[in-house]
């Protein structure tokens, strides 16, 4: 049968073009790959190649013709053993039959698309997440006082003992014992195969860690601070977060990226930034930012066990703080569940990471003045526990978000949006946010103090929403 050569589209948006030049003539023998014609649009010129073998029967659209619609039969090719002239004749008959009819549209447009649109109009409902509750701590469990630093180290050591695939890599994690001593003692126990010092090469080792996770290992990639992870953010976002989706669920990437995040003390603008909102905006990532030792340990263990890529944001200023931690064989906490760290009935303060400390200080002061604040530690920034926020809002009807980070496009912005969308009827006052000043963090001690959040500013905001 004769093969109809149709006007090709140079791009899915092209509707018509010019046949600038025919490079074959009737009667020519062509094989696949031969260039038949040059097609031009206002944007580009492209060569039109044959993908079939045969003899050019009839050229139906002469060169120089403009506005040739995509899909129009522009020539016919006689296949092997066919008479080219017959093919031409039958093609001519076919085209004259069609008369003025529009060429057949591509399958992806027209009627079919309409029916697809109708089908898509019944939008699927987004799956609702139902966060699990923290496991009950058995009566009589001894509570040890442990620093956040030790809790994190213990979490890694326990998981490395439990699973041979778990290893840690990063700058100074092995012989130096960690730039902030979080990996203290790990090299001694697990050896250099599983505690790997890397060169100063964040983009490279983040990629290697991500690739190792794709290859079936369970890497913990430590960034000396998350400020340096900006060089590696491509692998965190493009390689780790998206691959499961892009592969239709085939590719796993169970990697944990962890390290200190947020402002430290007097280290200047480039070393002082909260990346929580950045990573929390990315579907495919889990983002955890714990405050105390128990959450740091329980959630890091959960992060290492997770099949999903996790960004685990610590805080240098909190590493040395001591908190109670239940002495359990296996202290694992649920990802995606916020925690009410202080109950109250008058107002809700939502915070995470170092901000929780300020929120608790503020709540104590407010209690002296007769205002009982409920303090929520989000713990996980993605997926965000909307339920706990909204339930508290329903109880207190007033809400303040306290975040050590910039205000614009922040976690605070997100919490406020949730309150507007889903908690509007419960609001007795506008939701306020207490964030860092919207400036790069200054070095000078007085300016730095002015730029960062603190308890007095949270108290002020709480009083505003309580109208006192």
């Amino acid at each position: 049968m004769a093969i109809e050569l149709k006007m090709p589209a140079l791009s899915p948006t092209m509707e018509e073009g010019t046949i600038a030049k025919w490079l074959v003539k009737e009667g020519d023998t062509v094989s696949s790959g031969d260039i038949l014609a040059e097609i031009e649009t206002d944007k580009a010129t492209m060569e039109f190649e044959s993908i079939d073998e045969g003899t050019v029967g009839k050229i139906l659209i002469p060169e120089g013709t403009e506005n040739v619609k995509v899909g129009t039969v522009i020539a016919v090719l006689a296949g092997e053993g066919e008479d080219a002239s017959e093919a031409a004749a039958s093609a001519e008959a076919a085209t004259s039959d069609e008369g003025e009819q529009q060429p057949e549209p591509p399958a992806s447009s027209g009627e079919q698309e309409k029916s697809d649109d109708e089908k898509d109009a019944i939008a699927p409902s987004k799956p609702k997440s139902e966060p699990k509750s923290d496991p009950a701590i058995p009566d009589g469990t001894n509570m040890a006082t442990v620093t956040v630093r030790e809790a994190l180290r213990d979490a890694m050591a326990e998981e490395m003992r439990r699973d041979e695939r778990v290893f840690i890599m990063g700058e100074e994690v092995a012989e130096y014992q960690g730039a902030y001593k979080v990996t203290q003692g790990l090299l001694e126990e697990f050896g250099p195969k599983r505690v790997i010092d890397t060169p100063i090469t964040e983009y490279g080792f983040a990629g290697i860690g991500t690739g190792a996770a794709m290859g079936g290992l369970r890497p913990i990639v430590e960034f000396m601070t998350f400020n340096f992870a900006m060089q590696a953010i491509d692998h965190i976002v493009n390689s780790a977060a998206k691959t499961n989706y892009m592969s239709g669920g085939q590719m796993r990437c169970p990697v944990v990226f962890r390290g200190p995040n947020g402002a430290a003390s007097r280290v200047g603008a480039q070393h002082s930034q909260n990346y929580g909102p950045w990573y929390a905006s990315v579907p495919g990532l889990i983002v955890i930012a714990p405050y105390d030792s128990s959450d740091a340990k329980g959630l890091l263990k959960a992060a290492i066990r997770s099949e999903d890529p996790v960004v685990f944001l610590e805080n240098e200023l909190v590493y040395g703080r001591s908190f109670e931690l239940p002495e359990l064989d296996d202290h694992v906490l649920p990802i995606g569940k916020a925690r009410i760290v202080r109950e109250g009935s008058d107002v809700t303060i939502v915070s995470y990471s170092i901000g929780v400390g300020f929120a608790l200080q503020a709540a104590e002061k407010l209690a002296e003045e007769g205002i009982e604040a409920e303090v929520i530690d989000l713990r996980t920034l993605r997926p965000l526990d909307r339920q706990t926020i909204l339930e508290s809002l329903a109880k207190t009807n007033r809400l303040v978000v306290a975040e050590e980070g910039w205000p614009t496009c922040s976690i605070a912005s997100e919490v406020i949006a949730i309150c507007m969308e889903e908690g509007f009827d419960h609001l007795d006052a506008p939701v306020l946010r207490v964030c860092n000043e919207d400036v790069p963090l200054p070095y000078a001690a007085n300016l730095e103090k002015m730029a960062l959040i603190d308890a007095p500013r949270i108290i002020e905001a709480v009083k505003k929403v309580c109208y006192v």
Binding site: S32, K126, S129, G207, A212, G249
Partner: protein, 363 residues
């Protein structure tokens, strides 16, 4: 030795243990020299017929993909492998598929076909259908087959090199004897993370073969206009990675080079950098007007260096008849037609697929 004295600048440096710079017998040219001695792989007739069949499958598949793109059935970016077939076939035929892994960039159709993955599910991915290998959610640039240890399909130029380093780290960590074959282009060869990976791969002696598919153009910019060192096989020198300069238009030469490189890596000597000199006949992607090179240049490569025509000549010289080869062509056309029909007629993904596979677990 004078050389030792010269390369070890300070006493402190010479006292350091374990790094690749300790290997005083290291010779960057050793692999190229071994390869020069036997440049043509001694393939059996069956092997050659199989190479021919596989290269032809890629060629015809890609031609059809180009056609489907023109008809609006394939959208977005679509990078064809036409002209480069000998690279994927020559290299991947030398892999141990039970152990070795492969990773590449976005010009990935050929590498998947080289595994013998069903052309139907590849074409259906290109048309964005549920039956596609990524359920239609990846597209041309994002295809994977963990079953075959093929790890994609990556759209950020150069990212696959670091990821490949990670796959190699996993091979070494698990002591599974496998190696990672990491492909990238002459364009990606100028990305910083490639050299970060070279450094760590050499430092840690990772089992990885870096393959630069030098098709002469990074999109529309020729290597001469983009690269200070256009002899890409030399690019590992600063990291003490031996390089190999290979004619990527000759499948038997590619395979011979692969034998040398893979042996070196499997013996625990760390990475090898192979430059495969090749050529893409088509534009960078389907929407490339190709104004940066002349038609004569493309035509010259097609006429004189085409990998499929080249192997065809060898086969004919060995006594294969035109009919034998025609029969293969016919079979391939049928396979590709079926794949195209399948990809056009398969349904699009269910709307509910929008929300699946974002995360593996429920939280």
């Amino acid at each position: 030795m004078a050389r030792t004295a010269k390369t070890r600048k300070t006493p402190a440096k010479s006292q350091q243990q374990g790094g690749p710079s300790d290997d005083s017998d290291f010779a960057l040219h050793s692999l190229q020299e071994a390869f020069e001695k036997a440049k043509v792989y001694d393939a059996s007739e069956d092997e050659m017929m199989e190479f021919y069949r596989q290269m032809l499958l890629i060629r015809r598949f890609e031609e059809r993909a180009g056609q489907l793109y023109g008809l609006g059935l394939i959208g977005g970016f679509c990078h064809l492998y036409i002209g480069q077939e000998a690279v994927a076939i020559g290299l991947q035929s030398a892999l141990d598929n039970d152990k070795d892994s492969v990773i590449t960039g976005y010009r990935d159709h050929g590498h998947m076909l080289a595994y013998g993955i069903d052309p139907k599910v590849i074409m259906a991915e290109l048309t964005g259908r549920q039956a596609g290998i990524s359920k239609g959610k990846g597209g041309s640039m994002h295809m994977f087959s963990t079953e075959h240890k093929f790890y994609g399909g990556h759209g950020i130029v150069g990212a696959q090199v670091a990821l490949g380093g990670g796959l190699a780290l996993a091979h070494k960590y698990n002591e599974d004897g496998g190696l990672c074959l990491a492909y990238f282009g002459d364009g990606a060869a100028n990305q910083g993370q490639v050299y970060e990976t070279f450094n760590m791969a050499s430092l840690w002696k990772l089992p990885i073969v870096f393959v630069i598919e030098n098709n002469q153009y990074a999109m529309g910019t020729s290597t001469a206009r983009s690269s200070a060192e256009t002899e890409f096989y030399r690019r590992g020198t600063a990291f003490r990675i031996p390089g190999m300069d290979v004619n990527g238009m000759d499948v038997l030469e590619v395979r011979a080079a692969a034998e040398v490189a893979f042996k070196h890596v499997r013996e625990g000597n760390g990475p090898v950098l192979m430059e495969l000199n090749t050529y893409r006949y088509r534009g960078h992607s389907m929407s490339d007007p190709a104004k940066y090179r002349t038609r004569e240049e493309v035509q010259d490569v097609r006429e004189h260096k085409d990998p499929i025509e080249g192997l065809k000549k060898v086969l004919v010289d060995k006594g294969k008849s035109e009919d034998d080869l025609k029969a293969i062509d016919k079979e391939i056309r049928k396979i590709v037609s079926e794949a195209a029909d399948f990809s056009e007629n398969s349904p699009e993904p269910e709307a509910s697929e929008l929300y699946t596979d974002v995360l593996v677990e429920e939280y």
